[in-house]
Symmetry: C2
């Protein structure tokens, strides 16, 4: 459901999964205007989606096992996920951390009513970073957890800069501070301010004759986005922007250090790092693995809203329990 | 069950877990000879263990929720875990990778018969490394996984050196090769030989007048232990051994790199790293978190042998689903 960067990433990830099949793509646009990569798969208008719903009685050859909802967290998912959870098993990548409890509640009500399984917030943060935080804190209850993001492109911050007068295009990178990472890795559990953890770097293509000093000032003082960070602004040409900044890389670190021993005399450091060429494609790859788990949970009668915290890891893999124990344990 | 390094580590980890209580320690030794750290908890002979078994009808005040079996993988656990799984919910840290399927089968039969829950191979490898391999491969099915161990003390290799004539004491460190780690992190999916991945460093206290050249030769050519590695041998005094090599640090890396995109044009690297001051204490901390999950699985009717692959991560945490979603997702 939805065919932007995330939807295209899901399509690519399904191609890598021999046990999965792309059944259909649904769009709010005119289906004729949406060209997808997989030949032989049809693009449908979202208006026709109920015909594919097992809850609404679709025939077995038409019924869709899992609907992967590839919308945005700001306005799409809060409306779409509860709506479609009443018709399908669903997965989304809802990533507005502060609104997760509310979203979970809405999706839970819809999916329990329809006896479907709905996994929300599948991706890397929330997602793989979250489950790493959970495991690490459960194992090392006395300690501190740190999350760093980057180096990577923040879409929201790039958009905010683009709204400044005189800006034609912008790309914002979030960069973890190496000294902060090292302090955390030492196990010393430092207190770190926002400014000490990350810096921001912005590349701007300005209109001809625009006041670059004013643009820079507006960026570095922008409330909630930049004012708490050390921000560097570079003005570049449109060609350089296209050549060097067209990718959507991202990643980051979850680090927990904790103490064990009768007198907490031993220190342990757990570090999980992601370095991603394509933020949306990695998120899509998580969505597809979680879709496999969603189908299995549905089959096991595990209905209602779920998160990665509720999923037995084996459900994510196409391999049998026996294979997993023999090859991966 | 068992009070060596691992048992003492479990005792310390329980102290850090307000929702858990150490009920009793069982030993094969004379209980009077075993001094534990927790006042008010009794050490019992293993001969009396059935009195504490809920399966054998122990009274609620005496019945033990989970028995954490802290024996060795070579001879203890293959016998103990099936035996006690017929009396208790159990957890072990069985780590002989090649024999996991056989061990799983034996434990499964015993625990299904008794309707108990038995989690095997809880620790960090097998354990946290395994679940990282599983998640990473499920998300990035096209790619390669690498596991590196160290820098850390290998007990088995240290023991092997101690058996050489003229050796009084020995400590063996396994060390990952930095260049190999960097090659893997680059996403290039290199083919690496055993020799390219790890080196071994051995510290030896020799008998006075012992032939150090012969000892060195016996070490570096030892089949299965050292012959496939570049090994450095240092002769040191007993004092230096006690001062600099009495700890049991360990750790390592699981790294998966994989490709996504329609033409596999994007590379992603997932890296999980552990740096542990005390190998047994970290393993014990995993055992205790898994014990919490074991109790919950038992309550949910999930009987039989299980591994970390089968456990919903939320079961490891003392926090409620609501708390976890609000604070950690």
């Amino acid at each position: 459901m939805g065919y932007g960067n995330l939807g295209r990433g899901v399509e690519c990830a399904i191609k890598q999964s021999p046990d999965m099949e792309l059944a259909a793509v649904f769009t709010r646009r005119n289906p004729d205007d949406v060209k997808i990569l997989t030949e032989s798969v049809k693009v449908h208008s979202v208006d026709d989606i109920e015909q594919f719903s097992p809850v609404a009685g679709a025939s077995p050859d038409k019924a869709i096992d899992v609907l992967i909802i590839c919308g945005g967290s700001a306005t799409d998912l809060p409306e779409q996920t509860p709506k479609y959870a009443s018709l399908f098993n669903v997965v989304d990548s809802f990533d507005t951390h502060a609104r997760i409890p509310e979203h979970f509640g809405n999706v839970d009500a819809a999916s329990r009513g329809a006896r479907t399984t709905a996994v929300i917030s599948a991706g890397w943060d929330p997602g793989m970073f979250s489950v790493t935080r959970l495991y690490s804190e459960s194992i090392l209850p006395v300690g501190s957890t740190y999350t760093f993001w980057g180096k990577g492109v923040s879409q929201g911050h790039s958009d905010a800069v683009r709204r400044i007068e005189g800006v034609v295009d912008a790309r914002q990178y979030t960069i973890p501070v190496e000294a902060a990472l090292d302090a955390v890795r030492s196990g010393s559990e430092p207190d770190l301010t926002t400014r000490q953890k990350h810096t921001r770097e912005v590349f701007v293509v300005a209109e001809e004759g625009a006041d670059k000093e004013r643009i820079t000032e507006e960026i570095v003082t922008m409330k909630n986005y930049f004012d708490e960070y050390d921000t560097t602004v570079h003005f570049i040409g449109a060609e350089e922007m296209a050549r060097d900044h067209s990718g959507i890389p991202h990643g980051g670190f979850v680090i927990r250090s904790g103490k064990t021993g009768w007198d907490e005399e031993n220190t342990h450091v757990v570090e999980y790092k992601l370095a991603l060429d394509s933020n949306p494609e990695f998120t899509s790859s998580v969505l597809v693995a979680i879709a496999r788990a969603t189908y299995r949970m549905s089959g096991a009668g595990m209905h209602g809203a779920k998160t990665i915290f509720d999923i037995p890891p084996a459900y994510l893999s196409p391999k049998s329990g026996e294979e997993l124990r023999a090859t991966m344990l």
